[in-house]
């Protein structure tokens, strides 16, 4: 895990180096042809409208506000902190929406705070699903709401998942009842570049903006393998082969570097007070340039080990960093390489052989990666599995323990909390129970790695957002009203 963090630093330095080269390298010839020897005119100090500024990569602002909360102490539970600790008879104290203290039974608790007796219960950080299509492929799954794949071009880096999310997807409610507090919503994998992901707080909301995780970086969904070449090959377009895929990635990065250089030139001139026309904003290239700058994280759907190795070489060729391989079903074959490169692998434990590129999926994938010191994430890509990521992590942990690895719950819980948080660039904000982090946590009926465990209470930023025993805290989406069962799913 430490290796992963230090490697990330090294690569972002590399990315800086590249953008510097691109700027100086392109300066010369352009100037000689421009010719006039008079001093450059002073630029007007008028800032660009936000919509025309090629670096306005923040999107529409988050309007998320934490729900009401009060200082609360959880007492007596077995606490998995996702920092490697399992605390028996522990205390978790939260106030102001943050974790204030975590420790043993002797942890001091201020007077006049709410106390929740959690004896016999387990507490973990809120579950984080790093690969979800909730909202973009919502329930019910009808064509009219099938908004996850802009399958019209192999490169749709210009689209943003947040503009497809339907906040009334009942799947958000089911995921919350399974302890999921944070989700990365990704575009689908029909394209080489599917578009931007969005990170959401799993709170019921009327707008996507009200779910957007404040200050979370964006991800770029990329896809290796069978899907893009099948989708476009089937239309007699490129890519139709694996080599066509790789051409598509490389061409796009060359275009993106050129675009980044134009904006860098413009900014440099502007800074020097010279007159300069801003380049035309291009939403596709802007997202790709954001990756080259290290601001947008690459979330790369890639099943096969050999294709992962190719993607690593492409990243090196153009000076960006791959943050995580998703559906990385063969990562166990190159675990030392992934550990060295500091790239996370997000995987299922139990799915295998549902398509050719998933044929070599094994339940010990996560465990072998873990044994090699590589970063492991258990993800869902599925509105059913997301409700029980704790159990999927248990299957992965058990596969390792069948090999005699002795993987503890304190370790395995990271696969669905701290590690996805890091891989989504929000590891400093959530994902573990440490003072100062968001009070996103789950009170489980028992050991969360048991098939019988249920999330009893779920908190986001210290606020109770789901309570299995209290109907007032079992939100239903508008869609569920007036339907059979009235959305009463538990």
């Amino acid at each position: 895990m430490i290796r992963w963090r230090s490697a990330a630093t090294a690569v972002s330095l590399l990315a800086l180096g590249l953008s510097a080269c691109a700027t100086t390298g392109a300066g010369g010839p352009a100037k000689t042809s421009a010719a006039p020897a008079k001093p450059a005119e002073k630029a007007e100090a008028k800032p660009l409208p936000k919509g025309l500024d090629g670096q306005a990569s923040t999107g529409f602002p988050s309007t998320y506000q934490p729900f009401p909360s009060r200082p609360t102490a959880f007492v007596g539970a077995t606490v998995l902190t996702a920092t490697g600790q399992q605390i028996e008879n522990g205390v978790v104290f939260v106030s102001g929406g943050k974790i204030t203290a975590v420790g043993g039974s002797d942890t001091p608790i201020p007077a006049d705070v709410a106390v929740i007796d959690a004896k016999g219960k387990w507490i973990t950080p809120g579950i984080i699903d790093a690969h979800s299509h909730l909202g973009v492929y919502p329930s019910p799954g009808v064509q009219a709401r099938s908004d996850g794949n802009e399958a019209t071009d192999p490169n749709t880096a210009q689209v943003w998942a947040e503009h497809s999310v339907w906040p009334q997807d009942p799947g958000f409610n089911r995921a919350r009842a399974g302890g999921v507090t944070t989700l990365q919503i990704l575009p689908g994998s029909a394209n080489l570049f599917g578009g931007r992901s969005v990170t959401l707080k799993n709170v019921p909301a009327l707008t996507t903006q009200a779910m957007k995780f404040p200050d979370a970086p964006y991800g770029l969904k990329m896809a290796c393998g069978e899907n893009p070449k099948r989708v476009y090959g089937g239309k007699s377009r490129s890519p139709s082969t694996a080599m066509g895929n790789v051409f598509g990635y490389r061409k796009a990065w060359i275009d993106a570097a050129d675009y980044a250089r134009k904006w860098d030139d413009f900014r440099a001139k502007q800074q020097k007070g010279e007159k300069a026309d801003p380049p035309k904003r291009d939403l596709q290239l802007e997202t790709l340039a954001g990756v080259l700058k290290g601001e947008i994280l690459v979330q790369n759907h890639c099943y096969r080990a050999d294709e992962e190795a190719t993607m690593i070489d492409i990243a090196k060729e153009f000076g960006y960093k791959i943050t995580m391989f998703h559906h990385a079903i063969e990562s166990y074959k190159i675990a030392p390489l992934l550990a060295k490169e500091g790239i996370c692998s997000a995987t299922w434990a139990s799915w295998t052989g549902f398509k050719m590129e998933s044929l070599d999926g094994i339940d010990a994938n996560a465990a072998i990666l873990w044994k090699n010191g590589a970063c492991v994430v258990i993800h869902s890509d599925d509105p059913i599995m997301t409700q029980r990521l704790n159990q999927e992590a248990a299957i992965a942990m058990t596969a390792g323990n069948k090999l005699g690895y002795g993987i503890s719950r304190a370790e395995a819980i990271k696969w669905i909390t701290a590690n996805p948080a890091k891989a989504m660039g929000i590891g400093d904000k959530t994902g573990s129970l440490e003072p100062g982090k968001a009070a996103d946590l789950v009170v489980w009926s028992r050991d969360p790695f048991s098939v019988y465990a249920q999330a009893e209470k779920v908190f986001i930023d210290g606020a109770l957002i789901y309570d299995r025993q209290d109907k007032r805290f079992q939100p239903k989406s508008d869609f569920e009203l007036g339907q059979p069962g009235q959305g009463a799913f538990n």
Binding site: G353, R388, T398
Partner: protein, 454 residues
């Protein structure tokens, strides 16, 4: 130390495929919690396997002379798990059409016979057995409809993931005939029984097979049953071309004869409560036997299903309103159906070669209110009864065939796994393609040669 152990286990795994299971031996499993399913659990006891059958079980059973003794060390012994509806051995890789033999194209309808699709050498059989599954109903799906309730629609190309070579166009009305296999390693023929049921779908999938709506679907199904009756009674006339035209081919009509005679059940895939009522009405009026699969809104009509004595096969994970015919999906569907007196079998995830999920699904149903005993039965005796195999398997009773699993803990729990799997009294190999991949990459060596040499 760990490493050398791993190398040793890898060596064992490599040796196993050569050592195919020999003849049945006498085995005594001692120091086990025994879950016969047909009767109360024995907290600590012995189970004896002899001549391929269960010879004795109880708290104080003598170990026969010469028996191989397996110390379960407090683990659990159960009947081998029965997959209640899967495509095991008839489908290999969901997205690779050449490996999909679990559905018919347009050539056949009810006559499609999945028993001819069974490949005893399918590597997915070892994987299933590694999850404690010792037998499975192999049940066709309608072509063009994929396998289960929730498709993996990530790439938006769902129609690629279909059964049958001819995925285009509307599926035929009937899916075909189901079979039953037992997962005997090294056996040239694992089909235990064929032509066990004919499948059909109501609701959205069924409507697709009938030009678009439910009204057409049920009219066509009823008409097909009527045709089958007429065909059965006027066969000679049919051969001479002296009957009216029938809606289905000769082969399809012939496959429906045992259904209309009430000998073979119609397996009906259905979700919505109203469609379930139609299925029950169909069975009553046509005097046919039925099995219901899916049944997401079954809890809303549980009393009616119980009254009709119709068994169901459900997926307890199905709690999303993921279609307009499953808006009432609930996690406690299995528990409510069981409480109403319905015979409930639980299945795994047929789309991902993930039959391990079956026992975890039973655990999930237990977590949502299904009594533990019913949970265990839902993956053993109940599916065995549904498929008419309970005279041989499904519970641990003296005289039954010894399909037996020794677990290191609760068989419905995530953290448990099978230690020994017996099919017909023969201990099965512990390896599968997946364990061989695992062992290849879990080990390292300094030979300088790539893993292909391991």
């Amino acid at each position: 130390m760990t490493r050398s152990l791993l190398l040793a286990s890898a060596a064992c795994a490599l040796a196993l495929p050569l050592a195919l299971p020999a003849t049945a031996q006498t085995v005594a499993i001692v120091n086990a919690r025994i879950e016969p399913v047909s009767s109360a659990a024995i907290p600590s006891g012995t189970l004896v396997i002899k001549d391929g059958k269960i010879a004795a079980l109880g708290p104080n059973v003598a170990i026969p002379a010469g028996a191989t003794v397996i110390d379960a060390k407090g683990g659990v012994v159960t009947p081998g798990l029965v997959a209640s509806s899967s495509n095991l051995s008839a489908s290999e890789i969901g997205g690779v059409r050449e490996t999909r033999d679990d559905g018919t194209g347009s050539a056949l309808s009810a006559a499609f016979d999945i028993s001819y699709s069974v490949n005893p050498a399918s590597p997915m059989i070892g994987l299933a057995r590694d999850g404690g599954v010792t037998s499975s109903a192999v049940v066709p799906v309608l072509s063009g409809t994929g396998g289960g309730a929730s498709e993996h629609a990530d790439d938006g190309v769902v129609e690629e993931m279909t059964a049958g070579k001819d995925g285009a166009g509307d599926p035929p009305l009937f899916g075909g005939q189901a079979a039953f296999i037992r997962l005997k390693a090294g056996s040239p023929d694992i089909v235990e029984a064929a032509k066990l049921a004919v499948t059909v779908s109501l609701g959205e999938s069924g409507a697709r097979a009938a030009g678009g709506s439910r009204g057409a679907d049920l009219v066509l199904i009823r008409s097909a049953l009527e045709d089958a009756r007429a065909f059965a009674s006027r066969r000679a006339a049919f051969e001479q071309g002296a009957t009216r035209d029938f809606g289905l081919s000769r082969l399809d009509l012939a496959a429906l004869i045992p259904v209309v005679q009430g000998k073979t059940p119609l397996l009906i895939r259905v979700s919505r409560a109203a469609d379930i009522r139609q299925a029950l009405k169909l069975a009553a009026e046509e005097k046919i036997k039925i099995i219901l699969e899916g049944v997401e809104e079954g809890w809303m009509v549980a009393a009616e299903i119980a009254k009709a004595g119709v068994p169901v096969i459900v997926d307890p994970q199905a709690d999303l309103p993921d279609s307009f015919e499953a808006l009432g999906s609930r996690l406690d569907n299995a528990a409510r159906l069981n409480a109403a007196g319905v015979s409930v079998a639980i299945n795994g995830a047929r789309d991902f070669n993930n039959l391990r999920q079956e026992r975890l699904n039973a655990g999930l149903a237990v977590a949502n209110g299904l009594p533990y005993a019913a949970g265990l039965a839902s993956v053993t005796l109940t599916p065995a009864k549904i498929w008419g195999q309970d005279g041989k398997i499904g519970s641990l009773d003296v005289g039954k065939v010894a399909d037996v699993v020794v677990w290191n803990g609760d068989p419905l729990e995530t953290t448990s796994w099978p230690l020994n799997v017996f099919v017909g009294g023969v201990e099965q190999p512990k390896d599968s393609r997946q364990t061989q991949l695992r062992d290849r990459y879990a080990t390292t060596d300094a030979s300088g040669y790539p893993p292909a040499y391991r």
